[in-house]
Symmetry: D2
Subunit: 354 residues, 4 copies
Amino acid sequence: MKGFGVIKPFEQVGWVDKEVPVLGPYDALLEPVAICPCTSDVHTAYDIPATPNRILGHEAVGRVIKVGSEVKDFKVGDVVAVPAVTPKWRSLDVQDSYHQHAGGLFQGMQLSSGEDGCMAECFKVNDIDMNVAKVPDGVALEAAVLVGDMVTTGFHGAELADIKFGDSVCVIGIGPVGLMAVAGSALRGAGKLFAVGSRPVCVELAKEYGATDVIDYKNGPIAEQVLKLNGGHQIDVVIIAGGGTGSIEEGFNMVRPGGTVVNIEVQSDPEGLLIPTFGSGFGCGHKKFIGGLCPGGRRRMGRLFDMILEGRIDPSKMITHKFYGLDACEDAFYLMRDKPKDLIKPIVYFDKKA
Amino acid sequence: MKGFGVIKPFEQVGWVDKEVPVLGPYDALLEPVAICPCTSDVHTAYDIPATPNRILGHEAVGRVIKVGSEVKDFKVGDVVAVPAVTPKWRSLDVQDSYHQHAGGLFQGMQLSSGEDGCMAECFKVNDIDMNVAKVPDGVALEAAVLVGDMVTTGFHGAELADIKFGDSVCVIGIGPVGLMAVAGSALRGAGKLFAVGSRPVCVELAKEYGATDVIDYKNGPIAEQVLKLNGGHQIDVVIIAGGGTGSIEEGFNMVRPGGTVVNIEVQSDPEGLLIPTFGSGFGCGHKKFIGGLCPGGRRRMGRLFDMILEGRIDPSKMITHKFYGLDACEDAFYLMRDKPKDLIKPIVYFDKKA
Amino acid sequence: MKGFGVIKPFEQVGWVDKEVPVLGPYDALLEPVAICPCTSDVHTAYDIPATPNRILGHEAVGRVIKVGSEVKDFKVGDVVAVPAVTPKWRSLDVQDSYHQHAGGLFQGMQLSSGEDGCMAECFKVNDIDMNVAKVPDGVALEAAVLVGDMVTTGFHGAELADIKFGDSVCVIGIGPVGLMAVAGSALRGAGKLFAVGSRPVCVELAKEYGATDVIDYKNGPIAEQVLKLNGGHQIDVVIIAGGGTGSIEEGFNMVRPGGTVVNIEVQSDPEGLLIPTFGSGFGCGHKKFIGGLCPGGRRRMGRLFDMILEGRIDPSKMITHKFYGLDACEDAFYLMRDKPKDLIKPIVYFDKKA
Amino acid sequence: MKGFGVIKPFEQVGWVDKEVPVLGPYDALLEPVAICPCTSDVHTAYDIPATPNRILGHEAVGRVIKVGSEVKDFKVGDVVAVPAVTPKWRSLDVQDSYHQHAGGLFQGMQLSSGEDGCMAECFKVNDIDMNVAKVPDGVALEAAVLVGDMVTTGFHGAELADIKFGDSVCVIGIGPVGLMAVAGSALRGAGKLFAVGSRPVCVELAKEYGATDVIDYKNGPIAEQVLKLNGGHQIDVVIIAGGGTGSIEEGFNMVRPGGTVVNIEVQSDPEGLLIPTFGSGFGCGHKKFIGGLCPGGRRRMGRLFDMILEGRIDPSKMITHKFYGLDACEDAFYLMRDKPKDLIKPIVYFDKKA
């Protein structure tokens, strides 16, 4: 089985040939219908000590080609959305914490992280009855492929921020995750909604998804710009979807006492995440900080599909580049790595039938 | 000073002549710019032991004509939105409970309830710095007059329900409060959003505000209709904005274990509110019930104005009937009482300048 | 296999002879070490359309005598506490609601409800790795047998009430569940803590567990007594662990606007649960009502054991009557049914070794 | 009027002579009955750009000697507990955020910060009806003087951590605030409760207040010690009441994904507060950080007094050193500054009658 992945961590990506995965009784084997490469695939390839020959890819719509003996709700031929997070639900951690970390930090993320991913001829999904959702009639493939990571991650930013009606919100970074954080914030009832970014293709879509003001970080410190636009008042919520650890400092500086800074960007600066002393009120200003990996699982996918079906959100507008066939995963990956100015999100179609 | 109010509780409304209110140091005197009669004015007039000669009306935009000695942020001539709830913020209850009930049940509601209301030549607002908000440029008068009760009440339904992304929601009753509960639910990220009502003018607007399915209660028990439309599954949230205590029973029957039934309709059935034994899981199904009077205060008004300014919601679409001048309060009140088929909400304009 | 159960629903209990249960790969077979009959066993026997020949009993410490092929953390000989709620954790409902109702209302409760219970020579526990906890050294058997229902249920009352430091709380009913609600409320930091009951053995223990005032319902309406003792002020929280639906009305009458009424008693009055119109502030007083079945699962048991080990709570004080051997389940059941004045909770020991 | 305060910021403390404060209509003038110096008095004196000649002291029981014209609930002679936080309740921020920061960061803290403090012949308290509570019969003066800062601050740590039944908790620092965080955690139902400190007088009291294990930071990294004692498992909650910014790093390293790190120590390191990259799960491990100034106000004081009256907590055990008369404030301050090994908290009595 051929797949595109990390050959040598930190150095080399490329094609590998591996055995078809063995299924447990609750698992299923899928062939990709469409996949999207993700910025975190690029991180996995070049920034962390990944497992050599690990196949990349965790954003997929797939077609079931084989099911384990105990699978009940899916059968061969079903076309399903696969979330980035497919936890082991029979884990004690699920009983009193986030399923994303059931079994340990990030252990809910299997595809491309704990196991081989979806940039392959086929891939395994664990506990399919609990983890994937059929793509409903009326949901475009381009939307379905984005629910499992981009939508659920961006929306999670708005959830963690616990946005209230009329809250003033700033989303730093308007790549695909940030754009979904913008949309999610509007869908929680934000009032003023600042978006920080500069590429025109992203700026335009941010406004369409609900941003009320767009700020270019090249024009000076973000916090200063936001305060100026907000009449000198600090804001209620900051969601960080880009900009690295510096965004955390900006976030604390612009959020009011009692406000919230949410992080949904993987922060890999070895120096740590620096919270400013004065900006945090000497650690006593009731400014909350929380960051988290996206929720997964079948029910979450179903809820997001309901929102798409009812017209609350259309994530497919973020697809800017289209590729065809397994081999194109390589080019799509490089595009994601190089992030040209007109890119939001590339898709790779595998399927003539889709 | 002339005003329209309750002459004899339970029996007679009409015009009264009273002294201009005396102001405390934090209070202000306003003349109406526009007001709306409310169903609860009708209740106050005919269903409860109101104070005789109490002037009605608690939905208003007013112009400041006099301020107390300690008022800081407002001056004569300012045009402001006055919420139905204008609490005494120097009340201990504010320190650990809802401001709506600061000083006792419903004591946050002053206009038309604790004191004379706004259907008059002028009316007093207590603690104006804390309780009213200037109508911002860009907000139509027809929207501004609705924020202080219809919008804040309907949105409060969605808040109390703590709607999550993709929740299935049913709003029972789509008069103006129910319509704002529909809009508020969509703005919290509901998925499927059932609205129960029958008058075409309301049904049409419910859909525009985000309802995905409209149910006519005349076609059978609401719970049965909702379950049928929802594939046999119970839903996450019910918001009651009409239908009386029977809606509570329907609500419990259609909500899932762990779901929420919210009440934002004044329930006056002397028999009490009946929760069904089986529908509540013998009182042990984790179905939450909560109901509450709308939040008021200046900050709330500011937040709702931000949402209107940023285009999240346009409540002015609910205005179906227009009247002019103080004297027209009487006809507007009767219209509200008689609720003709094409009515959502009447407005009375007092002001040529507005 | 011999067991004590419902022979004819509503009419007759007695001994049945059944096949030893068949185990699935995650299940285990246990022999009882000690069990307690529960008031809900009495309800199951006489008040609901139970399955004929259903073996009763869902409060147990057991010894593992056989494990399914996939069981990882337990082996033959392990002595474990079995909670009343042993859900199917691979259920979609776990992903966004209470595990108690995973698969439908109350479906988390297997023993004596969905399947045969523990008043038998042996009994099956589903998904043992997820559902039971070893009894730690230092925890008395008499405490361990109570964690799985009495402690977790009573404490859940305090959890659902979301008691804050210094809250005034009233627990209605001080049988074993109510006593644990008293203890749980004190352990959440309640201030004044009223307990309603009359039997001296319960009254004494209520005080030991943290009640500050004990009220006898025979002396007049509970709400009136509580208000009198509380200087005329309504209180923050009411937890109903006895008294039937009348307690709900009392609860609403004594709780303040913004307060909470929690129900942890199975309410079976076919007329429904009546919330008082005025006591609820016409349904708009922000008085929350919620009731729920106890949390189960292995992690919960571990948490409660930690509290016992660290000396926060000693539930074993509630054991007032002791029986020995399987045959004694019958007498213990009748004792629970007849509730003599000096009873709190009976235990049946099966085991010479324990 | 004589008082002890900051003469020259960063350099010199001493005695000042100032005018008796002028009262507004809601204010009162008090003479101290007993006061405690606080570590934050030492900070104010030496570490921040304080106002020259600012009188120190914000932990007091006082006797009312004069009231403003609008004061309703207090009269000359009343003995009251004064919290460190006495906000201006007529502030918009109270309507949607923490009263501690009403009017801006820390603006709820008036005594010794916004205005002159209590180490004086007399001192002013703003809005006395909203901010102080009579010391009830049955509460010792030594307890009453500690509720307004030590108790409310330590308990706030447990509140911000949202401790659940059986949570494993570590409190870093067991000075008086940390000791109250220990007591507060036990009173929220913690299971294992680690306390980090070394002075025997504090260690002993930590155990009495509910600590289950005491760790000496001199024996190695705290996180390592806690993990070892906890069987290798990360814990649920960390509360930082000492140790500076290094405690934040330790906290993140020992808390589980989904856990909470709470800060109740003023962090003044100009470098900022460093959150560890890996320990935070690259900012995506759902580890929440929040820190905050203590709640104040009259209702809070009443709630804490109820807890003392009902025997839930006895803070007076923390008083280790006693002084008498205004002049002794100087020695008591130096004692607090020099922190001898046997010190927890000094008290200064002003009053023969108390």
